[in-house]
């Protein structure tokens, strides 16, 4: 580790600030809603060309829908997607340091199609903020990866022997297609760095909850209220009983968040409902909490609380928890130290949100997230980043890569 490398990288990044901002503007103004294949493809090609220009080998990787139709439907059914653009996988070998670093950003957005046209990139000099759809989540971080890679190459500092960058295209669709690709690459990596936005308070993220989705389908016995009250069994009544039981599992103090976010049942007001569906989001701080919660959900679904109704439960944890480990704590220290070297205070904290970092970490890879520029108001018209942190975080990212490759955190033992 040498402070000289960090200084060099920071100086390079400051010298390229206007170029970095111009690149980010381009990214933000291209509409790349997950389901807008052409738009995502335009960003993918821009990334492909740019990374190739830096010296990376670039491969486009097709990502297939998950085998479970309900998982796919849960994320994409109401978005009418015409297929997903292939992911962009970039690889650069020949670093003089050790180890294999995986960096990730997603180039799709959660905004409705058309958002950039009505709310383009803009800078407010008064607040020193830049605004635009998905600027924080996470085009700012995508630009950060590109410029960190350039800085590593152009300054000639030692870097990990191999750097792989994946820009995936369905993160806002739960990464359910990209997951196998990410897992495979993670298995061959020593560290993972993901550039979702830094938290509003400026922090990076060292721990993320595991996120699961669940669907409960109840079939009742449809019958007319007036004439069929002896035979009718309301799927709505059964569902309401289960919803109340499920919400009792919500226990933030013990790292479990459970939200029934949608329900829908019945076809006519005068019939005992024959069908009711509920969808829920379950976040657990670690695998122990998840196993415990999963068992409770299964018991609630199985409970025969209204005879004559039948319940089907579908449950899948699509983002496993990302736990703190001694290695990630060490990486967080490097982030703090590097930030201090360039005049920024960067703590690393835990959140109950998920990202692709969960998937990398699930393969036993020490991973940090939240390494993009600091931003907020995500998924609103006012989504922003703190503009000074754009250069700052890109510099920290490059310096961190340098430090990892030169012994900052040991390489993994690969079985």
């Amino acid at each position: 580790m040498t402070d000289e490398a960090t200084k060099k990288i920071h100086a390079w990044m400051q010298a390229h600030e206007s170029e970095l901002i111009a690149f980010l503007r381009r990214l933000v103004d291209i509409d790349s809603a997950t389901e807008l294949r052409d738009g995502v493809e335009t960003v993918a090609r821009l990334m492909e060309d740019t990374m190739r220009g830096i010296g990376f080998d670039v491969t486009r990787r097709e990502v297939a829908p998950p085998p479970e139709q309900w998982i796919y439907d849960a994320f994409m059914a109401d978005r009418g997607d015409a297929g997903i653009a292939p992911a962009v996988e970039c690889r650069l070998r020949g670093g003089t340091g050790k180890g294999r670093l995986l960096m990730m950003g997603h180039i799709d957005t959660a905004f409705p199609v058309g958002a950039p046209a009505t709310n383009p990139f803009r800078i407010d000099p008064a607040t020193k903020r830049a605004y635009g759809p998905a600027i924080a989540d996470m085009k700012g971080g995508d630009a950060g990866i590109v410029f960190a890679c350039r800085a590593l190459v152009e300054t000639g500092v030692a870097r990990p022997e191999q750097i792989t960058v994946i820009f995936d295209t369905d993160e806002q669709g739960g990464s359910v297609r990209s997951r196998p690709l990410i897992e495979a690459e993670a298995r061959q990596s020593d560290w993972g760095l993901v550039t979702e936005a830094g938290r509003v308070g400026g922090e990076a993220v060292g721990q993320r909850a595991g996120i699961a989705l669940g669907e409960i389908i109840i079939d009742g016995v449809e019958a007319h209220l007036g004439t069929g009250f002896r035979t009718g069994q309301s799927a709505i009544e059964a569902m309401c009983r289960k919803v109340i039981a499920l919400h009792k599992l919500h226990d933030p103090d013990n790292g479990v968040l459970l939200n029934v976010g949608e329900f829908n049942g019945g076809t006519r007001r005068n019939l005992y409902a024959g069908h009711c569906v509920a969808r829920m989001d379950i976040r657990c701080v670690d695998m122990a909490a998840w196993e415990r919660t999963k068992a409770s959900i299964e018991a609630i679904a199985a409970a025969n609380d209204l005879p004559g109704t039948t319940t089907t439960l579908k449950l899948q944890q699509h983002r496993p928890p990302m736990p703190w480990t001694p290695q990630t704590r060490r990486m967080a220290e490097l982030v703090r130290e590097t930030g201090a070297q360039i005049g920024a205070t960067i703590d690393t904290i835990a959140t109950m949100g998920g990202s692709d970092a969960n998937i990398i970490a699930s393969q036993g890879v020490p991973t940090l997230c939240g390494l993009g520029p600091v931003g907020g108001a995500i998924m609103t018209r006012d989504e922003y980043i703190e503009l000074p942190t754009l250069v700052e975080r890109a510099a920290v990212l490059a310096a961190l890569a340098h430090k990892l490759g030169t012994g900052g955190v040991e390489v993994r033992k690969h079985g």
């Binding site: 968040l257 939200n259 029934v260 976010g261 329900f263 019945g266 989001d281």
Partner: protein, 418 residues
């Protein structure tokens, strides 16, 4: 053409004549109901509803009834919400016509016959007419195209046998019974205002039972508002309208009390828009059935309390309720009308039970006028609103005979003698 009373015939002879005539029409009746069933006529299909109305009015017009197309009255502003509630997305001014068919003679007494042109089968959800032994299957055949056929042929029988001895027979055929009769209510009430007895052509219930009373029913719409918040990053700011609604639904269903003939059902529910967002909104619809006004008021006030309760701090709700069918009470006049109908039935070997119905239909608007009403005068039918909806074919002749013979007895003065 106008039939005249034939007082020289004895009641029993008259019943025999009606029965004999109707028996010969069995196949024609089956063809008629087949024709009606082949027309899709959900309330939002005005062309179909009008075609069914035309078939009935053509048949009755050909035996001397004057027919007209009418429309209901606009709703009071505070009841406007019912339009969207009953037939979502449908412009009520586009409904098919309500039909009134009236025969006037120089006999005795005024009868009102009620039927519905629309069925419960939403467009595209029907199935083809078929015959399976003594059962005829089809969408809306029991509710209530079989009943319409029985009414038309009973009235034809009275004319054909010259046994129509009444002063007036009025038929009101509703175009929007499945839409809560918002439009049909006025023509029904107008006709009831100058009628003595009412018959409604719903199918006879299990075991061939008629209905002597109908529940007071209504509908409600409950909306709960919480606060949207992301389930991961902002869960503490969220207020789940789904949770609050789930608790209210339990309380609503707990008001059901079969021993008191009080039934409630949350028929439709929805809430939230994204799994990962704590839902800020939920709504449900409620169907409410009570035996009469006292129970209705009690249930309404309990529902208002449930709706108003704040389960989760910061949540609130809105609640709309309307008793759109006042129902029919079982009175001494009902007993009297049942007695006359039973007498008519006995003359050709038909006995039947009469039950208190926990449902309500077009007859519901005559209850407040204290008119004697018999509902379920149609053929025996079952499995309503399913792909097995059917009537018993042989009961069409039987029930048409019952209606015609009962009308004839009323025209012959049975009401005043009883």
């Amino acid at each position: 053409m106008s039939a005249t009373a034939t007082p020289e015939k004895t009641a029993s002879n008259a019943t025999n004549a009606l029965r004999h005539w109707l028996h010969a029409q069995r196949n024609e009746m089956l063809d008629f109901v087949h024709g009606l069933v082949d027309i899709e006529s959900y309330a939002t299909q005005p062309d179909g509803v009008n075609a069914v109305g035309d078939m009935l009015c053509d048949a009755l017009g050909s035996i001397g009834y004057e027919t007209e197309r009418v429309r209901g009255a606009p709703l009071a502003p505070e009841r406007k919400w019912l339009e969207e509630f009953m037939l979502p997305g449908f412009d009520r001014t586009q409904l098919g016509f309500q039909r009134v068919a009236r025969w006037s003679g120089d006999g005795h007494g005024r009868a009102l016959i009620l039927g519905d042109l629309d069925t419960a089968f939403v467009p595209g959800k029907g199935f083809p007419f078929s015959i399976d032994g003594d059962r005829a299957l089809g969408p809306g055949i029991a509710d209530m195209k079989g009943g319409l056929t029985v009414a038309v042929y009973a009235l034809k029988a009275l004319q054909a046998t010259s046994l129509n001895n009444l002063e007036e027979i009025t038929c009101v055929f509703s175009a929007d019974e499945q839409g809560g009769s918002l439009d049909a209510r006025k023509p029904i009430a107008d006709a009831a205002a100058h009628s003595d007895w009412v018959f409604c052509m719903e199918c006879a219930r299990e075991g061939g039972k008629l209905m002597g009373s109908r529940a007071q029913i209504g509908v409600a719409k409950l909306e709960v508002f919480g606060r949207d918040a992301h389930a991961g990053s902002a869960y503490a700011k969220g207020i789940s309208a789904i949770e609050a609604m789930a608790r209210k639904v339990q309380a609503i269903h707990a008001l059901t009390d079969p021993s008191r003939e009080i039934y409630l059902c949350v028929g439709q529910i929805s809430g939230g828009w994204r799994r990962s967002v704590i839902p800020g909104y939920s709504m449900c619809t409620i169907d409410i059935r009570t035996p009469g006004p006292d129970a209705w008021e009690e249930v309404e006030s309990k529902l208002r309390a449930i709706a108003g309760k704040v389960e989760l701090p910061g949540s609130h709700s809105t609640f709309l309720i309307d008793s759109h069918r006042p129902g029919v009470q079982w009175t001494k006049k009902t007993d009297k009308l049942i007695g006359i109908a039973k007498e008519a039935g006995a003359e050709f070997g038909l006995d039947f039970g009469v039950l208190r119905s926990p449902a309500a239909g077009s007859s519901a608007f005559v209850g407040p006028m204290d008119l004697p009403c018999l509902d379920g005068m149609g053929p025996m039918g079952a499995d309503l609103m399913t792909t097995n909806e059917h009537i018993v074919i042989s009961s069409m002749v039987e029930r048409a005979t019952l209606l015609a013979a009962t009308l004839h007895k009323l025209g012959a003065g049975a009401w005043d003698k009883a």
